[in-house]
């Protein structure tokens, strides 16, 4: 098929921009990165064929500015824009602006983004399609001070009932979200959610939703094309969440059997058909202990956790997104989508679990990614990079694929042990504690898992061997000049042999 474009602009940064660029390169497409001034030498900017600077570090002055991104597409001859996730990915105005400028937006139609982005409209559509939804109420738009009409707020809160979640209408990823158990906290929580929503999504609209105490979060990957086809690619279990932020995802879900998968998959495809969905999307459900499920929301973008679906299906979702955006027909029918084995993903965050998970900033003094069979790293950082407070603290996604769930857990734990990251604190050790927990091994996971099982977690005491290894490394460091330090690592024989080499190079 002849594509209507040969150049794609990636309107994003970090790991997702890098991941999209790789697929574009495989497809023979030229890539354009956009970068804020502090990102000009970051991995995504270095990986692309062309990079365009679009403003200062703050996302609201760069990555969120639709006109700058479009101008960059125009000036570089990009015929299509891939928005990734976050930033402009679920911004219908941006999708429309692309269309008006003759640039293909790689994602669903603007009307679909509008319908699904306005989360109550999405809920109505699902109700009409016969899928149960979680009770919820919309709130009027906040005023210039970031407050909503108190009467409307009170009425909505009374209709929803406590406990409830305040959620950003245009949000996702746990940002702009607050749990409210006590009516006294309602006002401050709503205001905090509005501030975060404006910051992260450029829109402060929030809504209230009934909070279920211990559900599972199970979502379905869907795909549609412009020729009336729609399929699902199975589920992702995303129940392991800290403050509504997913940290471990997997597929298949230990709670979903073939029959439930058929029911939920049918509902997800019905949702896709109800809005003539074009491209990749995700239908999120809450799954209760009794096997009943209710629609939560539909995300009209590529999800952060899409690699686990790619690992078990063998399908490159970004490639299919690009083909469908170019007018192509979905390359598979529902029967042809086969899942094999088990995949897990861990999100590696620059944060300090021993200090209340505060984001951690600094230079990545040492950063080495694990590899090997069934191990995949999606990262947007490299050794020497400065991790700043401007952007999301997620450094990378570590994913594994194995025959069974138990083997996937073993493989993930080994990969975490082979993933040294020094210079910022990370959640690596905490993730290992999650994976090693008997309840996780048993597949007994709900969104309350971390609170239930790991609330008291703290890192283990320093083992003496850490001191000894450091002392040996320092002794080596002091006895060899800097320029041959790297050479020494690749000469792992006798230390004398290496010191001999040092004399030859350094002194003679």
């Amino acid at each position: 098929m002849k594509r209507p474009f040969d150049t794609i602009l990636i309107a994003n940064r970090g790991e997702i921009a890098c991941r999209i660029i790789r697929t574009c390169r495989e497809m023979g497409l030229r890539t354009v990165a956009v970068a804020s001034d502090v990102d000009l030498t970051s991995p995504h900017a270095r990986l692309a064929d062309t990079v365009v600077e679009i403003g200062p570090a703050s996302p609201s002055e760069s990555y969120l500015l639709a006109e700058r991104v479009l101008a960059a597409a125009k000036s570089t001859g990009a015929g299509a824009v891939h928005p990734g996730y976050g930033f402009l990915s679920e911004n219908a105005a941006f999708a429309r602006a692309c269309e008006a400028a003759g640039v293909i937006f790689i994602g669903p139609r603007a009307e679909t983004i509008d319908a699904m982005g306005e989360k109550t409209a999405a809920r109505r559509i699902m109700q009409e399609a016969g899928v149960p939804v979680v009770p919820g109420e919309y709130l009027p738009a906040p005023n210039a001070e970031g407050r909503v009409d108190p009467k409307a707020l009170e009425a909505a809160a009374a209709a929803v009932g406590y406990p409830m979640l305040v959620k950003a209408a245009y949000g996702g990823g746990g940002k702009g979200m607050r749990l409210v158990r006590d009516p006294a906290e309602l006002n401050s929580s709503v205001e905090a959610a509005i501030r975060e929503a404006i910051k992260a999504f450029g829109n402060g609209l929030v809504y209230l939703e009934r909070y279920l105490e211990r559900p599972r979060h199970v979502e379905f990957q869907i795909f549609g094309d412009a020729h009336g086809h729609a399929v699902h690619l199975g589920e992702r279990e995303c129940s392991i969440q800290r403050r509504h932020q997913k940290i471990v995802e997997e597929t298949p879900s230990p709670a979903v059997d073939a029959e439930l998968r058929r029911l939920m998959g049918d509902a997800a495809v019905a949702a896709a058909r109800a809005v003539d969905y074009v491209g990749a999307g995700t239908v999120e459900f809450l799954l209760d202990e009794d096997g009943s499920f209710s629609f939560l929301e539909m995300n009209t973008r590529l999800q952060v956790e899409h690699p686990v679906t790619e690992l078990v299906t063998g399908i490159d979702l970004v490639r299919t997104q690009i083909d469908v955006a170019a007018g192509g027909v979905l390359p598979w029918t529902q029967d042809q989508i086969v899942s094999r084995g088990h995949a897990l993903e861990c999100r590696i965050y620059a944060e300090d679990p021993s200090r209340g998970f505060m984001p951690s900033t600094g230079r990545l003094l040492l950063y080495r990614e694990p590899d090997g069979p069934g191990v995949r790293v999606d990262s947007g950082v490299s050794e020497g990079d400065e991790i700043t407070q401007h952007y999301d603290p997620m450094l990378a996604k570590l994913s594994v694929h194995a025959d069974t769930r138990a083997e996937a857990i073993d493989r993930m734990r080994d990969a975490l042990r082979r993933y040294p990251i020094l210079g910022v604190s990370t959640n690596g050790e905490y993730l290992d504690a999650v994976l090693d927990h008997p309840a996780f091994r048993a597949g007994q996971i709900t969104t309350a898992f971390l609170e239930q099982h790991l609330a008291d977690w703290s890192p283990a005491a320093v083992d003496d061997i850490v001191l000894m290894a450091t002392a040996v490394a320092d002794a080596v460091h002091l006895t060899i000049p800097r320029h041959s330090a790297d050479a020494a690592v690749s000469q792992p024989n006798s230390p004398w042999a290496r010191l001999g080499r040092f004399r030859l190079e350094g002194l003679d």
């Binding site: 900033t361 042990r417 061997i465 320092d474």
Partner: protein, 169 residues
């Protein structure tokens, strides 16, 4: 070569020397047995202990040593007396300092106000996430060193609290 490490309140000393191609280690003056150093580099050490092979990764930042071993990262502080000047500011006292560079979104207390331990003092935003900074002790607010919109660096004073009498600092 001898190195002194501090980790929390603990202080340890390690002697390291190379003898006949083998690394000889002693910890606090006692020889260490059962550790066989296999590969050495300035940032990576492979060793065997109890019949298992391990790898440690080391990075340096001033007098700090950042070490990764078996999936765990640890920060060690080198030296005895001279190391005091790199001591990390300890929060939990009456002086509440910023542990993160960020921006003050909201100040929730005023000077002269009484607060309970655990009461929210202000909201700090970093990396698009908002965090509540809580009072480590009960007392009276002596100083509020920031205003809404202030940008703060690590270690900046945020709020100073006069602890209630009889309260353990």
């Amino acid at each position: 070569m001898r190195m002194e490490f501090r980790s929390g309140d603990l202080s340890r000393s390690i002697d390291v020397r190379l003898e006949g191609g083998r690394w000889i280690l002693s910890l606090d003056g006692l020889p260490v047995a059962g550790v066989e150093i296999l590969e050495t580099g300035s940032d990576r050490i492979a060793f065997r202990r109890n019949g298992r092979r391990h790898e440690a990764w080391v990075a340096r930042r001033g007098l700090e040593r950042l070490v990764f071993l078996d999936g765990c990262s640890r920060t060690l502080h080198i030296g005895g007396d001279e190391a005091d000047d790199v001591d990390v500011v300890v929060s939990g006292g009456p002086r509440v300092v910023s542990e993160m560079p960020g921006r003050v979104v909201k100040v929730l207390v005023a000077e002269g106000q009484d607060v309970a331990a655990g009461a929210p003092l202000l909201i700090l935003e970093a990396m698009k996430m908002e965090s509540e900074i809580l009072a480590p002790v009960a007392g009276q607010i002596r100083t509020v060193a920031v205003v809404e919109g202030s940008t703060v660096a690590v270690g900046n004073l945020l709020v100073d609290i006069e602890p209630l009498e009889g309260t353990d600092q």
